[in-house]
Symmetry: C2
Subunit: 238 residues, 2 copies
C-alpha cells in the first residue's frame, strides 16, 4: 500500500540535478477601473508561438528573490507603483504551458487606481502595457485566459470581505462610483438603496462632508475609505 521510496521531504541528503531544471515565473493580473468597466493591464507577446497576442505582465523569478517579492518587483517595474494590493491566486503547472521550456507560473492579482498608470501616455513605448476591458479580452497568449478567469473569480470572492475599492478608486469618490465598481466586478446590477444601506452600515467609509463640483445635476457627497475603522473591523470579525 505504501511506497517507501525516499522523497524530498523524508530522506534526501541532496537532490539529483535533473530536478533543478525548471523555471518559475510570476504573472500579475493588474486590475483597474475607469468608472465604467473593469480593466486589466496587458502587453503584447513577442514569443514566436503567440506573436502579437496579448499577455499578462509577468517575469521569471530570479534565483535570489522570494516569490512574493518578485510579484511586487514586476508590478513596480511595469507601473512604477509601490505599496499596492497584491494577492496570490493560483499556480499553473501544465507541462506544455510554455513553449520555451518547463515554466511553472504563479499568478497574483492586484488592484490599482487607473489614473496612477495612464496607458495612453505610455503607449508609445514598445512593450508598454495597455488597459483592456476584461469583458473584451480576446484570446490571450499562453494559458493567460485561464489565469485571468481564475483571478476574476478570486476578486469576486474577496469583494465581500475586503475594501476592494480602496485600491481601485481615487481618494475621494461618490457612492454611485463605488456601486459602479461593484457592479463591474460582479457583472450584475445592484439596487441603489440596498447597496447604500449595506456599504454604509459596514462602517468602512468616511463621509467627507464635501460635494462634487461642476456636475450637471445634483452634486453627490464624497466619501473616502476609513483605514483605521476598517482595520479594527477586521479584528473584531473572527
Amino acid at each position: 500500500m505504501v511506497d517507501s521510496t525516499q522523497n524530498i521531504n523524508s530522506g534526501l541528503k541532496s537532490i539529483e540535478e535533473r530536478f533543478f531544471k525548471s523555471a518559475i515565473s510570476v504573472d500579475c493580473v493588474i486590475f483597474g477601473f475607469d468608472g465604467k468597466d473593469l480593466k486589466v493591464l496587458l502587453i503584447r507577446s513577442h514569443t514566436a508561438e503567440f506573436k502579437g497576442q496579448w499577455s499578462l505582465v509577468g517575469d521569471l523569478l530570479t534565483p535570489d528573490e522570494d516569490m512574493d517579492s518578485a510579484a511586487y518587483r514586476i508590478l513596480s517595474q511595469r507601473t512604477g507603483l509601490d505599496d499596492i494590493y497584491l494577492e496570490q491566486v493560483h499556480a499553473f503547472g501544465r507541462v506544455e504551458r510554455h513553449p520555451l521550456g518547463r515554466v511553472v507560473t504563479v499568478a497574483y492579482y492586484s488592484l490599482i487606481n487607473i489614473n496612477d498608470y495612464n496607458a495612453e501616455t505610455e503607449a508609445a513605448y514598445e512593450n508598454s502595457a495597455t488597459w483592456h476591458s476584461v469583458k473584451e479580452v480576446g484570446k490571450l497568449a499562453f494559458d493567460h485566459n485561464e489565469i485571468l478567469a481564475a483571478s476574476l473569480e478570486h476578486l469576486k470572492a474577496n469583494l465581500a470581505s475586503r475594501p476592494i475599492g480602496i485600491n481601485l478608486l481615487p481618494e475621494k469618490f461618490t457612492l454611485t462610483e463605488l456601486q459602479s465598481l461593484y457592479e463591474a466586478i460582479l457583472d450584475k446590477e445592484l439596487d441603489k438603496r440596498n447597496f447604500r444601506k449595506k456599504i454604509l452600515s459596514i462602517g468602512m467609509l468616511k463621509d467627507l462632508d464635501e460635494l462634487q463640483k461642476d456636475v450637471a445635476h445634483r452634486p453627490a457627497k464624497l466619501y473616502s475609505f476609513n483605514r483605521e475603522g476598517y482595520d479594527t473591523l477586521l479584528k473584531s470579525a473572527f
Copy 2:
C-alpha cells in the same frame, strides 16, 4: 515610469539557462477524521536540518508531469488511494525555504476516509506516514507549519460550499458524526438542532431509512451523500 525590458511574456526567443535552475515540489496536506479529531498524515523527515521532525507528504515534480498530476501521484503512492478529493491551496516560494536548493513548493490539500489508510498497520515501514491530530502537531520541518495552517484555513472556507463530508466519512454515517466532523474542522461547537435543520435543508444528504445497530442507546438514522442531488445543486447556485 515604465521599464521596457524584455521579459518572459513579452519578447523572448529563448530563456537564459540560468533561469532553469529551480526545482518544484508538491506538498500534500492529507486530512482524515477519526470520529473525534481532525488528523493530518505526516512522515519523518531525514533531511539533515530537520532530522526526526515531522513533515508533510511531498515530492518533486518530474520534468514530464503536470503539477496537478504530481499531486495525485503523491497521494496515490503514499496512501494507495485514487480518485480522491484534491485542491490546490497556495504556492510557497521563499528563497531559503529548502536547505538543499531553490525549491518552490505548491501545496494541495486532500480529504480521505481514515479507514482507507490505516497508519497503524503501515507504521512498521520506514518512511511510512502516520496520523497526527492537527491540534497537536508540533514544530514541523521546512515551512510546513505555515502550509498546514493555510490548508486548514482553506478547508474551513470550503466547508460551507462543498460536501466535505463525502470524503472524510464512511459511506453511511449519522448526523451526529457529520456534526462532529464540522466541529472538528471549525474548532467550535455547533447547535444540534440548527445544524440538522440546515444540513438537511441543503438537500445533499440521502436518508437511507436504516438504523445503527448494536449501540447502547437509541440507534441513529443513517445517511449518505447524494452526489446527483449535490451536483444539480451546484449548477443552480450561481
